[in-house]
């Protein structure tokens, strides 16, 4: 580890990498602070550029952009009551009430300092967990990976919120997309409709750009092109930042740990971490009656949890190749293109790169303090960029991004089709995140399934033949049963309750 760390230090502290981190931080702050543009979308648009960078600056750019964009989402949330990214939605009311009372510095100071500290704690936990987990995971074979993939998909359906059927539908759409292209076992083309460009499968980056950027452009041009925003000037934040840390350090620690663990669950990203941390904060607070009336404690908890979750999502991504959220799903794609396959051995094979990722995270979160303060001051101007100018620009960058990945106009078509699909899905309350995980994990699951079947000569019980695989399998099957049976049990219980109350009331 010391050699890898030293190598990482020398590879991170170069002009190229530091400049990349600085520019990505500005970019992340800019995109994150524009309502409707999410952290995932900012990373998806960044990817074509990372293709042409070396591995370390490429990953540093992704890491920095996410960390800063998640914080920047708080800015329009506090000033305009429009969360810039979904991760800020949990405490947007709290922050806006503070702004209305003329205390926007209190809200933004708290969210800035907790974002930076939460992010740094998140990285430290990532360093700790990922290495330990990798130690166990080196003994995993295709059976364990098959179950991990299934477990990831199941957790994506469970935590994505909303109806289980709709999440499952989203997941199936993603899995279906992942089967397009040449079959790995026999080489037979599947669902390609005779299109040569589809033999390699649906290109992942154009798909992501379409699902996150194009669908958002469509939504914005049809709904809120008119809204113009006015923002009052903002004073100094420093005093509030120091005060927040002194008063709430225990909350910051607790929620950073919570956010990190939640972030590591596939499908549960920064947004879910923020919601859970906020509700726990209210439950454990000494003054729960102040929540919802402009009280910074909820902002502190949720703000540190969402930034810590960003780092947590990298744990399963690096060790198993199973993304913890949509951003790491993209990051895995970028790593693979750079010839780095996430696996438990990644700490031995590419240790310097992994530690470089951790270092980039820490630098990004430290940079967040000065640059975040600057962004808050500049927010007044960014928030007044008219959407009628911004949306065509985002479309242009989406088109260019999709094109640059494979250098073919076919990818622009993929982006368009999947953008329309995502727009349709969102209009029907079908969440997008499970589909993304389906696209990434579909191939992993199928490959490991087929490898296992070749090993065991078609015996399905082989999936339970190794102790860890059997354990993972049992958990997964139990979750499936729970997902299928829980609604039935609930319905039956409601019915018996209704019958009960009907028999008691004399008719």
């Amino acid at each position: 580890m010391p050699e890898a760390l030293a190598a990482a230090l020398t590879s991170v502290f170069t002009v190229e990498v530091l400049l990349t981190i600085f520019l990505s931080a500005l970019y992340g702050l800019f995109v994150g602070s524009i309502p409707g543009l999410t952290a995932t979308m900012s990373v998806a648009l960044l990817v074509p550029i990372t293709f042409f960078l070396d591995p370390v600056p490429a990953v540093a750019a992704i890491v920095t952009t996410t960390a800063t964009a998640i914080f920047a989402g708080d800015i329009p949330g506090a000033l305009l009551r429009i969360p810039g990214t979904p991760a800020s939605a949990a405490y947007v009311d709290e922050a806006f009430i503070l702004t209305q009372r003329g205390e926007s510095e209190k809200a933004l100071g708290a969210s800035l300092v907790t974002a930076a500290i939460g992010g740094i704690i998140g990285v430290l936990l990532l360093t700790l967990f990922a290495n330990q987990l990798a130690g166990v995971a080196v003994r995993f074979s295709s059976m364990e990976y098959f179950w991990l993939g299934c477990l990831g998909l199941t957790s994506a359906v469970m935590v994505s919120g909303g109806s289980v059927v709709r999440s499952a539908l989203s997941l199936l759409i993603g899995l279906m997309i992942s089967t397009v292209g040449i079959d790995i076992a026999t080489g037979h083309p599947r669902f390609t409709f005779g299109e040569i460009d589809l033999l390699d499968g649906v290109s992942f980056i154009p798909a992501m750009i379409g699902m996150f950027a194009l669908s958002q452009v469509l939504r914005t041009v049809t709904t809120d092109l008119q809204t113009e925003s006015r923002v009052a000037p903002i004073g100094s934040l420093f005093g509030y930042m120091v005060g927040t840390v002194r008063r709430y350090w225990l909350n910051i620690m607790r929620s950073s740990l919570l956010g990190n663990v939640l972030g590591a669950l596939p499908g549960a990203g920064a947004d879910i971490a923020a919601w859970i941390a906020y509700s726990l904060s209210k439950r454990f607070s000494k003054k729960p009656e102040k929540f919802g009336k402009g009280y910074e404690e909820g902002i502190v908890d949720a703000g540190s949890a969402n930034n810590s979750a960003v780092a947590g999502a990298w744990t399963p991504a690096l060790v198993f190749g199973i993304p913890g959220d949509s951003v790491t799903a993209i990051a895995i794609g970028v790593l693979m293109l750079k010839g780095i396959t996430p696996s438990p051995r990644v700490f031995q094979t590419d240790g310097d790169l992994i530690y470089a990722i951790f270092l980039a995270f820490i630098i990004a979160n430290l940079l967040l303090l000065p640059l975040g303060s600057l962004a808050i001051r500049l927010a007044r101007h960014v928030l007044t960029i008219p959407k009628r100018v911004l949306m065509p620009l985002i479309l242009v960058f989406s088109i260019l991004g999709a094109f640059a990945v494979d250098n073919t106009t076919f990818s622009i078509g993929i982006m368009l089709v999947l953008g329309l699909l995502a727009y349709f899905m969102e209009s029907n309350d079908i969440p997008i995140a499970p589909a993304i995980l389906g696209i990434v994990l579909g191939k992993v699951i199928e490959k490991n399934f087929l490898i296992t079947m070749i090993k065991t000569e078609g015996d399905l019980l082989g999936f339970f033949s190794r102790p860890i695989a059997a354990g993972l399998g049992a958990v997964t099957v139990a979750l499936w049963l729970y997902l299928c049976l829980a609604p039935l049990i609930r319905a039956a219980r409601n019915k018996s309750k209704r019958n009960h109350s009907e028999s008691e009331t004399p008719s």
């Binding site: 074509p48 550029i49 293709f51 042409f52 059927v165 499952a168 539908l169 199936l172 899995l175 279906m176 089967t179 079959d183 076992a185 026999t186 037979h188 599947r190 669902f191 194009l214 452009v217 469509l218 041009v221 049809t222 709904t223 092109l225 008219p386 009628r388 100018v389 949306m391 065509p392 620009l393 479309l395 242009v396 088109i399 260019l400 094109f403 640059a404 250098n407 106009t409 622009i412 078509g413 982006m415 368009l416 329309l420 349709f424 209009s427 029907n428 309350d429 579909g442 199928e446 399934f449 087929l450 079947m453 000569e457 078609g458």
Partner: protein, 160 residues
């Protein structure tokens, strides 16, 4: 455009059946218990099951008299202007795909920008500034800095 549970369930079921029908036509390899058709069939069955659950939920809601309408159009999409704008985004992208090779990147992108910005009613000054400036900036960034070759047309041949 929001579908009710019944049409959404029917759609999911149809998609599932189509997937299964296509998958069973895949060639079977001798000696392999699970071939290329195995996963698509499972996915197809999954679509059908989701469809059935949605249809059942819709029928149950119908019996209770609380069924959602078969099709709801968001208020945003009922305005002609909004539809035109969404259409412009789609048509602009399709036109760009078709035109970028014959016209070259610079001209195609400039046309796309003028078209979109004007449809969204941005001012002429900003439209012209972006349409004349941005293609060159991006061309420089992608071909020189990132070394991505962009489709060349008349303007590129004349200038570079």
């Amino acid at each position: 455009m929001k579908l009710g549970d019944l049409p959404l369930g029917l759609l999911a079921g149809l998609v599932g059946l189509a997937i299964i029908l296509e998958a069973v036509s895949f060639p079977v390899m001798a000696g392999m218990a699970y071939g290329p058709e195995f996963f698509p069939i499972i996915i197809g069955i999954g679509f059908c099951l989701c469809g059935l659950v949605l249809i059942a939920a819709d029928l149950r809601a119908r019996l209770a008299g609380t069924a959602a309408p078969v099709l709801t159009i968001e208020p945003a999409l009922r305005r002609r202007k909004a539809l035109l704008r969404a259409g412009a985004v789609v048509i602009g992208t399709v036109a760009f795909i078709a035109l970028v090779k014959p016209l070259g990147f610079l001209l195609a992108l400039a046309l796309l920008l003028v078209f979109l910005l004007r449809v969204l009613a941005a001012g002429w000054t900003i439209t012209l500034a972006l349409a004349l400036g941005l293609p060159f900036a991006l061309h420089f960034g992608f071909t020189w800095l990132l070394r991505v070759p962009l489709p060349r047309g008349l303007i590129e041949t004349l200038l570079f």
